[in-house]
Amino acid sequence: MNPETTSWDRPPGRLRYVAWVPVALFFLFVPLFLPVYLQGILTKALIFAVFATSLNLLAGYTGLFSLGHAAFFGLAAYTSSILVVHYGLKSFWLVAPAGVFMAVLFACMFGFIALRVSGTNFFLVTLALGELLYSVAIKWKSMTGGTNGLVNTSAPNLGLSWLPVDPPFFYYLVLGVSAMSLLCLYFVTRSPLGVALQGIRESEPRMRALGYNTWLFKYLAFIIASAFAGVAGVLFAYHSRVLVPMHLGVTTSTLVMLMVIIGSDRVFLGPAVGAMVIILLEHPSSLYTPERWPLILGSIFVIAVMFLRGGISSFLEKTWEKAFYASAKR
């Protein structure tokens, strides 16, 4: 492991967190003045930021590159929408936990199966398990609507009658839930569990020799990551309003892996930055050359893997710290 890429062991310097102030201000206030469609793009970016960060708990921190992470995202999305559409449940407080619970339930099963293998085989087993759910979503037409999709146009019902139900409200709901999810994931990575996961990534035999039950740690990481993918999935169901089997399948799984790699799998917020970049690029591309978007995406991916070794955000972080420490020395 190259020491300069481990960014979480930096010497403390509280002042360098000052960079977060404009970011927080931006997300809190700027969307109020943006047109609705731009607000929607930011909403989607926040949702995928949580989704990508949850994958990074597995990929970057534990070294388990899953190509089936969208299974839990889509499962939670479908579960909450099916409850709304087919069972008439309206309350967000009921529907959202049910979606996340379903993601966790399947993570317990899939994690058990997928962790039977290690190394490169993990790629292929997670991919195949994700595709299993994808084909269920295609075949189970009475529940999922098959390839026509499942339409759920209702806004999340929080049971608070004084709340307005308009796009800014949904934006702030997503902002709140994402911020809390990212905070939770951050504490997980800083907890003893998170440190143990990094140890497993570096050398699993050594961790085992130290007496850690590495299987259990990886299993826990898989379940936690899937739970937060589920959180993102529930929000996405309300944002997208139409769910198609693709949202469970390899297309979405690889998209979110792309976000992680482009952003950086070595910085906590790297995947979130990657998600922002991809979602923001997707919009102009869908206006001008919707057919060529996969080509652009693939090229970005190849460039990121080949040349941007640490990802965009480790580049940003290094530049910022260089500038910050240079000005502090003066």
Binding site: G63, F65, I113, R116, V117, G119, T120, N121, F123, L124, V125, L127, A128, E131, L132, S135, V136, K139, G249, V250, T251, T254, M257, L258, I261, E291, R292, P294, L295, L297, G298, S299, I300, F301, V302, V305, M306
Partner: protein, 285 residues
Amino acid sequence: MESLSINVLNGIAFGMILFLIASGLSVIYGFMGVLNLAHGVFYILGAYFGLIVRRHEGSFVLAALAGGLAVGLLGLVLERVFLSLLHKRINEQVLLTLGFVYIFSNIVRWVWGPYAKLIDPPAFASGTIPIGSASYPLYRLVIILMGLAVAAGLWLLNNKTRAGSILRAGMDDREMTVGLGVNYGLVATVVFVLGAFVGGFAGFIGLPIVAVHPGIVFDILLLSLIVIIVGGVGRIEGVLLGSMIIGLIDSLGRAYFPEFAYFTMYIAMIIILLVKPTGLLGRAL
């Protein structure tokens, strides 16, 4: 009884198609440890390149070889220009191939459109042969023979040649192999080109049975993955066994439990993963 034997024969033929589909992936994965996610793209590119030659030259065999060669050349470029720079970084190598899936499947859609392509079997292998009172398409038997020939060729390469022993040594301990003076970079390139060739060749050979369009790249990849999960990687016998099992399970499943037909191969995969995670004949990677 006769329907059972037809179902079994169908299963074997489908298994052989699966073997041809999976063999290109398993060569690269089993011999050099790189999971080539662009395999589905190699497969359909072989079919499309072959179609060009078939249209201009007319020869089926020549078209299949040309499809394989064109994809092999593409593999050569990808390996030399990109993959070989990511030396020892297995995860990055896998993710890189994922980028090429997006790029090439989009280019294929751009150049050839989203339509499915299917061709007639060549004249020497069209028609049917009688089996009992039923008749069976001759081309499926040709596929079975072709699959056996590819399997035999790969087995001989891996087990009876010097290149094969270098490959096996490289999978066991790459550093030691390089330390003994073997030019492993060259070997890796040759393996990647060979895997790409087999993938592209299979794409055209399968064309009279498996229609090809840009949307199937992940389906092809997925079928190959299920086969090598069940059979195991590293040995060509494992891939052959895996594809036979999946082919038979799928074909018998379709005949006797049609409502679960789609999921029988997943169930087989999950059982194998729980019982023997390395696959039936696989070695740990």
